[in-house]
Subunit: 277 residues, 2 copies
């Protein structure tokens, strides 16, 4: 009896939040006010049905909506929306025995207007922090939820098309380019050693050092996003202690959520490729 694709995805959600320190995130040792570790545990359990649907071949948009609706069944608010946005196409690709950059690219490119509608409906299940939409995209502001569906249909936009129009969002960039950061980081995690949550922590710091976090930019501003990346680089050089940085960023509300999403996706790919827990 080996783990199913959906079980690996649920485990990736749990390993991600268990990794510590992940500067600015909820982790095994840190909570935010009102958003605590146990909300992530409940989010992972709740997402499982949607992850199983993705593995069983249900359309990406509908599986994602189911996963988000289940994830949202806890008191903390949005815990893993971005993680699920990455996991669902990856699980779909894995269930087709095509968990490669090309395989997940095919899944994403094959999405339809109905998938885009599922994505928009997902925003009705949980309150997601979002920046203003790009120029000319007001009618497609994700905060409109299913009210945006007529505009999607009029413009015949697939979920892939929506992601292409999501300027500057790190998860959307993965979606439209075959998940380059996810697959690269998965290999680094596999090449690392020690307990998996420790590897998750190191992966998070590497990813943050490599690229500014879109969620920090949207919620705490561009200067905070630049600082977070600069200081993650200092952690990599050994010039800064990631434990202390984690305490400081939690205190200041600098929460690199997109980097956590990528860490989770990379953990999933590493589990699929044989990383033991």
């Amino acid at each position: 009896m080996s783990r199913s694709h959906a079980e690996r995805a649920a485990l990736a959600l749990l390993l991600e939040v268990a990794g510590t320190p992940k500067p600015g995130n909820v982790d095994r040792h840190r909570d935010h006010d009102g958003l605590r570790f146990e909300h992530f545990l409940a989010g992972a359990v709740g997402a499982s049905e949607g992850l199983r649907a993705a593995a069983a071949g249900e359309p990406v948009g509908s599986a994602f909506e189911t996963a988000v609706a289940g994830m949202g069944e806890q008191e903390g608010g949005n815990t893993q929306f971005g993680c699920l946005l990455l996991l669902v196409p990856l699980v779909r690709a894995a269930s087709r025995d095509r968990l490669t950059r090309d395989g997940v690219r095919e899944v994403c490119e094959a999405t339809t207007v109905a998938d885009a509608a599922g994505f928009y409906r997902a925003f009705e299940h949980v309150d997601v922090a979002l920046a203003d939409p790009p120029e000319g995209m007001d009618a497609l502001d994700a905060r409109r939820g299913s009210d945006a569906i007529p505009a999607l249909e009029a413009r015949e936009l697939s979920l892939y098309d929506v992601m292409e129009r999501s300027d500057g969002d790190g998860n959307a960039a993965e979606w439209t380019s075959g998940f380059p950061r996810t697959f690269r980081e998965a290999e680094r995690i596999r090449a690392d050693d020690g307990p998996v949550p420790d590897r998750a922590s190191r992966a998070f710091v590497r990813l943050l050092a490599e690229q500014e976090d879109g969620f920090v930019r949207d919620t705490a501003g561009p200067e905070a996003a630049r600082e977070a990346t600069r200081r993650a680089q200092a952690c990599l050089r050994g010039a800064e202690d990631p434990e202390r940085l984690a305490d400081e960023f939690v205190e200041r509300g600098i929460n690199p959520g997109t980097t956590a999403d990528l860490t989770c996706a990379a953990l999933y790919v590493a589990l699929e490729r044989g990383m033991a827990v």
Copy 2:
């Protein structure tokens, strides 16, 4: 969309291990050598299929075996065998809308020889620490796994009968008496307040103070079991710091596993009765 019975049971497994301090156990802040937090996360994910089988009406012994086989799919060894032994009949009772002492008693009393066989087969999926069997029960030593099945069949013993013959095991005592400690502790957890993992920690200390732990008795001896209960009582009186006791017990290998099982079962009942996370 609300949580299913199986999801509540998986969440109870996760909340149990997240509770800290739980003197002597793996918890959010403590690992054992070779048995770490992430193994419990993977165990909870792996058990989910068997928990869904229990909720769907599959026989108790077979659902338990499936849950244990999935739980055992991680590198730490036995993480949640005892928890699952309590959860499976509770989930079965909940799925029949009878999650009461009488309801779970009916589930346990209705078990068959085939359920007992499933229980014995479960021991082949994971290495469970066990004491020597009671007098006259050598042929039914659980360490024999499925080799004990002919003896079960010859004596026509149901799983309930096997539990009745398990002298001094705290989980077996719950099984044969309508889960009195589980239901009582569930009400205390519901009456408590604050984050649920904190309530899990307090429940654990109360349960340990109330009764000696069978797993400690089997693995560290009767004096250690007496000491663990005496010192949990001191924690309740405020005469001892549970955080320091947790560090000491982990160091000394005093691991009140049966008390953790009961804590998990009580968390499950509390979730079923409306405790929010």
